[in-house]
Each structure stands twice: as structure tokens, then as C-alpha cells.
């Protein structure tokens, strides 16, 4: 699946998007964030406070309990500040 990052999450991770292949035991968004955090310092920094990270699966907002199976694109970003 494709992971995409925005705003300071993107800046901390150091890339706008990437292909990821989490293992089968990573089932929900919270698990995916934990798995990403363990991938390196830049990820650990981006996800150091998982509570503030917002997530969208295939362009729709989801909670951290949401299952990731079948997702094509998972986006991670800070609380929105548009408008």
C-alpha cells in the first residue's frame, strides 16, 4: 500500500509518499503507526505523539482503530488548519 505524509509529518519523515508492506500482524491504523515508528529516527520523530496524528484511508478520515486491510492509500497528517 501507499503511505502519504503531509505538513510536518511529511517534513519529519523526509518524504511525501512511499510504498510500504507492513507484516500481516499489523491490522489497524494504531498498529501501522507503531510499526512505522520503529522504522527509524525520522519516523519515531514524526509519530512521537500518535494521539495528534490524523489518518485517512483512501481519502476518507478514519480513527486509529480502523482496519487497514484492503487500503490502497493511507495518509498521515497533523490536525487540519485550512479555511
Amino acid at each position: 500500500m501507499k503511505a502519504v505524509y503531509f505538513a510536518w509529518v511529511r517534513e519529519r519523515v523526509g518524504k511525501a509518499d512511499e510504498e510500504i508492506s507492513p507484516p500481516a500482524n499489523v491490522r489497524d491504523v494504531a498498529g501501522l503507526i507503531a510499526w512505522l515508528s520503529a522504522r527509524g529516527e525520522e519516523y519515531a520523530h514524526a509519530f512521537e505523539n500518535p494521539r495528534v496524528i490524523r489518518v485517512a484511508i483512501d481519502r476518507a478520515h478514519v480513527k486509529h482503530e480502523a482496519a487497514i486491510s484492503g487500503a490502497r492509500e493511507i495518509a498521515f497528517f497533523p490536525p487540519m488548519t485550512g479555511g
Binding site: 503531509f6 505538513a7 476518507a60 478520515h61 495518509a75 497528517f77 490536525p79 488548519t81 479555511g83
Partner: protein, 152 residues
Amino acid sequence: MTTRVRVGEEDFDCAAEVAAISKGRRDLGAIVTFTGLCRDEGGRLAALELEHYPGMAEEEIARVVAQARERWPLEAVTVIHRSGKIAPGAQIVLVVTASSHRAAAFAGADFLMDYLKTSAPFWKKEHPINGPATAWVAAKDDDDRAMERWRK
């Protein structure tokens, strides 16, 4: 029942958007527009930079418009949100609502702005006048509270 949603770098013309909605119609009683502008924050700001999630931004705005239409009898809704670098005094966002009745037009526009602020995937970064340092604007509790008004 027309809905127009646009996201992009180009500026917008509020009057042209209102004309597109109202021209030739004789059934509209009320048109409300909201224009959000870039403030210079007391002279401190050189520009705002707006990042967005292409694709999801348009889809999420359309979902918010659909919710507004379920709650109020809106004849037409237009939402335009700009991205990219925006100078103080320049326009960032436009919401136009048209209805037979003023209460629906006001409530619809107010609701749309509250929801856009907290659910449309846009992020503002400040470019201050002094130095290259930039900072992401933090989400405001005020905005979350404003949205809570509509949960009833």
C-alpha cells in the same frame, strides 16, 4: 441545486461566483458569502503557504457540502479553497450559499466554514518577514469548539 467545489492556486472572484449561482433566477431570497483572507498578523507575516491533499481535499469538501444540504434547504453552494503561497490581504477561501430564506443561507455558510476548518485536509505554514524560519500553524481548540455547536 448546484454545487461547485474548486481547489487550486488560482485566485477567485466572489462576484463572478455569486453571479454564476444567481443569474436569471427569481426564486432566491438570500445569498451569503464568506471570504477568508490572509492576515499579516500585525505586520509579522510575509506570506502563508497552504499545503493540501490533492483529491481528498475536493472529496472532503463535497462531503461537507452534502451534510449542509441535508440540514438546510440550500439552492446552491460554492466552495473554493486556494493552495500555495498567499500574501497578506489576499483571499484564501470562499463559501457562497443561496436559499429562499436567510436563516438557511447564514447557517449553511457558517456550518461549512466550521467544518472546512476542522476536516478539509489543508495545512497552513507561516513565512515570517524576518528570516527564513517557518512554522506550521497549530490547530485551534476554538475551531473544534465551533464545530461542536453543530452536533445536536
